[in-house]
Symmetry: C2
Amino acid sequence: MPLDPERERLADLERRSLLAEQARQQAHHLRTPLSVIKLISETLQLELFDDRAYHERLQRLLGAASTLSNGLSDAVRSTRFGDGPQKRLDALSVAADVVRLYGGRVVAPADTRSAALGVEIERDSFEAAVIHCLRLLGVGTDCGHPWGHRPVLEYREGDGKVILRLSVEGRPNPEIPSERADLKLMTLAAERAARDAGGTLTLTDESATFLLPLVAGSG
Amino acid sequence: MPLDPERERLADLERRSLLAEQARQQAHHLRTPLSVIKLISETLQLELFDDRAYHERLQRLLGAASTLSNGLSDAVRSTRFGDGPQKRLDALSVAADVVRLYGGRVVAPADTRSAALGVEIERDSFEAAVIHCLRLLGVGTDCGHPWGHRPVLEYREGDGKVILRLSVEGRPNPEIPSERADLKLMTLAAERAARDAGGTLTLTDESATFLLPLVAGSG
């Protein structure tokens, strides 16, 4: 079976999205203790200003805290992903392409006007988010089950929003090892993509539902 | 094109290997500044022992340093990958399976005795390492070039070692964006897998060469 360039492109987005999310989470969780260290060291340094020996040691301590802080920021910067400009995208057609590429089908109401599904979203992170959701539903990660279950994308719109619902047919009980760090990062990265577009993502065992605001003038 | 379960399994190993490597690198780089912070705070705490106000603040500072330290260790622990037991594997056949799965071919000398290629290595991390090397040679990552170049695995053995050399045919000038963080992590993870098996990995623009020691009695 030859490599599919489009699938490889998406796998690449997927990897980069996870690494970026891991770096962001790490930086986020370590920011609070790091500012405690900086704050205490700085006030001690002020109070012990006259004592040169203390001053120098606190200076070294602050230097080490800066190194830590820079290390965390560098990790975020070097894995930067999906922070390009948000553009108006046909969210349905982007999601549909990803779902079809993974062997899925799209359920469309008869009166679809594709132009009505314009959403302001960053493309790479949205594509990665759709794949993350498919993984979370078992596509390529459901080690305990036979292959062949099929992703389904349903959508509807209304009230200035579009709803894209992903699920998987033919698999009664997913066995996703949800404690795995990579799957947690998938959840976080997919939720972030929805949030960055002003929307939400709701994940259950059976489905992943994006609720995204339509851009003004397209409703 | 249906999903290939084996390729999806390898893509999963690949993702987990990268996340584990990122967590390890992060912990490694932040360990030194973190011990500076701990050491200085501890000595200050001893010296300022009589002053209760200082003591308490230094205690909070040390608490924050512990939180940081635990955060880094947790990230390493939760992404743990490829730290299962090393087992005796037929390294050639494992690498050959991966290369063939990515459309490649294997060049074998006529007098191959497969039993002679026993290497003590952890299977998941070795499989991930082989894919990382293919990516670094452009398979699925070479955005600037037409598809269709083909991986090649060559090997020879001698002197108690096996040499597995990966390259790609039909691609004169790879255009790999080597500054990308994910590709750096691929390099580090693949080198680590080789090192953990007591061997080395040599990466150039054109090839990736594993030099792995054969286990005693199989040479």
